[in-house]
């Protein structure tokens, strides 16, 4: 069969296949399923950072009309609890809650009110009175707690060559510290669940990125068999890492459903999104860079001081970029964590790269300025096709192409290397560049295809427990099935987000597209292979799938498939690469600045659908712009609560903050990465954006900004008068 039919297969810029549901308000998110007899739960948060609950008065709340139950540690079901000192948090970690009177951080759940209506539950929650005994030893001030830092015991420290020797060989050294604050994911959909407990079986409509891990966490927490848990999440209103693991509202809802014998809906409030659904932690990154006069790097070290909670450990791999991005023989990466009385941090979009690249790519710009070299040429000079950290080649690396093609598109040649020389009225204009890299994992994925013949048309349904968190999974999976079955995409139905479907790694870590599509491919290929084998048709003979079903005298046929990394994959380092360019205008008197335009070049393997891939890139850029412009969660230094508790004080980028963005995809297929040549793109976009803007601000003003976010007041403090402060 020739490819004469329009399959709208892989690579086409088709509209999202589930898009009509979203624009018509018909896509169903977790809290929107019409579950009969449902009641509402409202979580209550602690108001001290460390200590014990000494008394609880639930009487007033319980008197209220409609209140069914007030759950606290006193009447909560006993759950499996965490073992060991600060066990590492993972995507399938159990989430025990309301297990004792101990309080570990400000905002920890200490109770749940269940009532007939949302209004009743909300009001009743405010009437439950807690008395606490405060422990004055709470660790809530990062600055004052440095001495408490420890080295996490997970082999994350790394070195090659000899740092001291590298620095001694250098003609120029940059030694600077870069700070990034606590940030929050804030997907637009509040974390939510409708859970029901029915004779030992749990059903949870829950907004989760990884269905299988949510299932493992529920079964682990309640110590019930995995088969008795079903998690359903067909639409996820954004995740960015916050919905990777199972957060405690889900466990509270399940527990409550068991106690009141009705389905319970718990929607986390926007304020609780700060304290109960993960965060990116504060990082202090000390960089030391050494280079020869000709721009050859001789040394690079990246030391990160950060924090975790007192109960669980998470360490953001900020130094990852410094280990692999440049050709430098002497390299050191270290980590230290301060256990603090705060929520356990966890992965936020491009954990490690997003923050680490701000430090590395700022330091690279500082070195280029010192060397009086063009920052692009400086990076190209230190390019490497080998991952010196893993000691193996990159499967493909087109960083030089990203930088050069981006430079041309952006008009880099018009950049004035000397700061403060490009002016327009009150505006100081600067250009900035940064390089980007993001690990591109690929994981074992199962999938099922159901083929149905109707006259001459074959309709295919793909099922897997993958999720679409806005990434375009429905669309690219449909395109994959269309490609491999050679049927129009309109005849493909994709069903995701249900733990009854075959297991996938879910959405996270930029592995979704490669894993899901290769999984779907495997199922489609298996279907065709089996249909051919059954009728002794040669595998290389081209026969339409409709013909195959007919020859098999079948009107319906199901096949499963599994895809996983090859042995070849393990021999290479698989990363996506990119380059960011920004033009920034800074008002020389007020420090206000506008990002006028951005160019991003992405080398991310096979682009399955440029429309949705573009969405991933501009989405990453937008969050990167948020990092540099405004995003910051502030901690009250006496009480340990967050001062920023809503969108009124935690500012995420709005429409006017963004500028025109041009995105160039490089025509690449990385067949080492996987059979379809796909690499990750979901996190590449956010990587190093903050540095490109900050570098542009230096080019505009001559002031080097090393603390995110770069607010106008910080620029004014840095002094916007003439001169370069390097």
């Amino acid at each position: 069969m020739t490819k004469s039919i329009n399959t709208s297969g892989v690579g086409s810029a088709i509209n999202r296949v589930e898009g009509h549901l979203k624009v018509m308000g018909k896509a169903k998110y977790a809290s929107e399923f019409p579950i009969e007899n449902k009641v509402y739960g409202q979580g209550i948060n602690s108001t001290i950072a460390k200590g014990e609950i000494v008394s609880i008065d639930t009487s007033e709340a319980e008197k209220l009309e409609g209140v069914l139950k007030v759950i606290t540690y006193k009447n909560a079901e006993k759950l499996k609890t965490l073992e060991g000192v600060r066990p590492e948090i993972a995507t399938d970690t159990i989430a025990p809650v309301l297990q004792s009177n101990k309080v570990h951080y400000f905002g920890q759940y200490v109770g749940l009110v269940v009532a007939e209506t949302f209004e009743q539950a909300q009001y009743a929650a405010s009437l439950v009175k807690f008395e606490y005994k405060k422990d004055p030893s709470a660790v809530i001030d990062f600055e004052k707690s440095r001495s408490k830092a420890y080295t996490p015991d997970n082999d994350s420290n790394y070195s090659r060559g000899n740092m001291d020797q590298g620095l001694a060989e250098a003609d120029m050294v940059v030694e600077q510290t870069y700070n990034t604050p606590i940030e929050h994911h804030h997907p637009m959909e509040l974390h939510a669940v409708i859970a029901s407990w029915d004779n030992g079986k749990v059903t949870a409509y829950a907004s989760q990125q990884i269905i299988e891990d949510a299932k493992i966490a529920i079964s682990g927490t309640f110590q019930i068999p995995k088969k008795d848990v079903r998690v359903i999440s067909p639409f996820v209103g954004g995740g960015f890492g916050s919905k990777l693991n199972l957060d405690r509202h889900v466990i509270m809802a399940v527990m409550a459903s068991k106690m009141v014998d009705r389905p319970v809906q718990v929607t986390v409030t926007r304020t609780q999104m700060f304290t109960n659904t993960n965060m990116r932690q504060q990082n202090e990154q000390k960089m030391r860079v050494g280079a020869k006069k000709d721009g050859i790097l001789t040394a690079l070290s990246h030391e990160t001081l950060s924090h975790t909670s007192t109960t669980q450990e998470f360490q953001e791999p900020c130094g990852m970029v410094s280990k692999m991005l440049y050709n430098v023989a002497n390299n050191e990466v270290t980590y230290k964590l301060i256990p603090m009385n705060m929520q356990t941090p966890f992965a936020m979009r491009a954990p490690g790269e997003a923050t680490g690249s701000f430090a590395l790519e700022s330091a690279m710009d500082e070195m280029a300025w010192k060397l009086k070299m063009d920052p692009i040429e400086f990076r190209i000079k230190n390019d490497t096709q080998t991952d010196l950290h893993e000691e193996r080649p990159f499967s493909s690396r087109l960083l030089v192409e990203c930088l050069r093609i981006g430079a041309e598109k952006f008009g880099w040649k018009d950049r004035k290397p000397e700061p403060r020389t490009n002016k327009k009225g009150n505006w100081l204009i600067g250009y900035g560049v940064s390089a980007a890299s993001r690990n591109s994992p690929y994981q074992k994925t199962h999938s099922k295809v159901i083929l149905e013949l109707d006259e001459d048309k074959v309709f295919a349904t793909i099922q897997m427990d993958a999720t679409d968190i806005g990434t375009g999974s429905y669309t690219i999976i449909a395109q994959t099935a269309s490609e491999y079955l050679k049927i129009p995409v309109e005849q493909v139905n994709v069903e995701l987000g249900d733990s009854d479907f075959p297991i996938t790694p879910g959405s996270g870590g930029s592995w979704g597209a490669a894993s899901f599509c290769n999984g779907a491919r495997a199922a489609c290929e298996n279907a065709i292979k089996t249909l051919k084998n059954n009728r002794n048709i040669a595998q290389d003979e081209e026969v339409a799938v409709s013909e195959l079903l007919k020859k098999n005298q079948l009107t319906k046929f199901e096949a499963e498939g599994m895809a996983e990394p090859s042995a070849e994959f393990e021999k290479y380092s698989v990363f996506s690469f990119g380059a960011n360019f920004s033009e920034v205008w800074v008002d020389k008197d007020t420090g206000m600045y506008r990002i006028k335009r951005m160019v991003n070049v992405a080398s991310a393997g096979k682009i399955l659908n440029p429309k949705t891939a573009y969405g991933q890139i501009i989405g990453g850029l937008t969050m990167g712009v948020g990092m540099v412009l405004a995003e910051q969660t502030r901690v009250e230094p006496n009480f340990g609560n967050f001062i920023t508790r809503s969108f009124a004080d935690y500012h995420v980028p709005v429409n006017l903050d963004l500028a025109n963005i041009d995105v160039i995809f490089l025509p690449e297929e990385d067949k080492i990465a996987n059979k379809m040549g796909i690499k990750g793109i979901g996190e590449l976009g956010i990587t190093s954006v903050a540095a490109s803007v900050s570098n542009a601000i230096f080019n505009a003003t001559g002031k080097r900004m090393r603390d995110l976010p770069i607010t106008p007041e910080k620029l004014i403090e840095a002094g916007l008068e003439e001169g370069v402060t390097a």
Binding site: A13, V23, D454, T461, G470, T612, Y614
Partner: protein
């Protein structure tokens, strides 16, 4: 209120609304394949398809009023809410926001709760022609008002041009802020027609009706609707296309082989 199983039974292929027919047309399902598809819809896929596709009557899927014994509500009020040209009498807790009334009592979950504090725009609906935040609007104040939600924008089985433009330009990702963005955009078209000013309007003396909004004006006037996925560029393009009637071109491209060779060998 129907649960999923009852829903399944309620799906009658012979009795579809214009909207549903349109959606199935869009999926390319006709004749027997359409019938077959409807029969095939498994319990699991109901979560994606049936509950969202099959809304034969706008309010057929609404939740029934809460049982009498539990409706001894604080400051109980009765209000007739007119949404999308249909009226539903409701008995509500006086504290109920329009947003919660729509979502929890009328089953109109297209309107989203993003913050419940009037800070994100996800709950935007159109009340008497103006965009409003339903989370800051008490349901009790809505008697006699005309409310349009995202579910009410399509007419005669045809999506509103703004919905079509959002689909074409990928003006969303996760889709959660989308109903608010679209309601905001639809009302903004009228604001431009009426010559209403904004924070970035250059000359307040020169305001006239039938404004042609600059990109900056569009961005400013859409800044009350947060999109955390960051689809702002595409949202602006979708709005522009409907506002001006001119096609907007994508701002992505692929590097050519020539560019690749030149970059490699420079």
């Amino acid at each position: 209120m129907k649960d999923i199983d009852k829903w399944n039974e309620a799906v009658d292929p012979d009795n579809l609304s214009d909207d549903e027919n349109m959606i199935l047309d869009a999926m390319g399902l006709n004749g027997s394949s359409r019938r077959k598809f409807l029969k095939q819809v498994s319990a699991a896929s109901l979560s994606i398809y049936a509950s969202s596709f099959f809304t034969s009557e706008l309010f057929a899927n609404t939740m029934k009023d809460l049982p009498e014994k539990t409706t001894a509500l604080l400051n109980e009020i009765k209000v007739n809410i007119k949404v999308n040209d249909m009226v539903k009498p409701l008995t509500l807790d006086s504290r109920t926001s329009l947003l919660d009334a729509l979502r929890e009592r009328l089953g109109l979950t297209g309107t989203k709760k993003g913050c419940d504090h009037g800070q994100c725009g996800a709950c935007t609906v159109i009340i008497d022609g103006k965009r409003n935040l339903s989370c800051l609007t008490l349901a009790a104040t809505c008697e006699g008002k005309e409310i349009t939600t995202v579910e009410g924008l399509a007419k005669n089985g045809e999506m509103h041009p703004m919905q079509q433009a959002f689909l074409k330009h990928d003006g969303f990702q996760c889709g959660y802020c989308t109903p608010g963005q679209i309601c905001s955009s639809v009302a903004l078209l009228e604001e431009a027609k009426n010559g209403e000013v904004s924070y970035v309007t250059e000359d307040l003396k020169k305001v006239q009706s039938g404004l042609s909004l600059s990109e900056e004006e569009i961005r400013e006037r859409m800044s009350g609707n947060i999109c955390r996925c960051g689809a702002y560029n595409n949202i602006v393009q979708a709005f522009k296309e409907v506002h001006t009637g001119n096609d907007e071109m994508p701002t992505w491209e692929f590097a050519t082989q020539e560019q690749m060779d030149k970059a490699k060998n420079a």
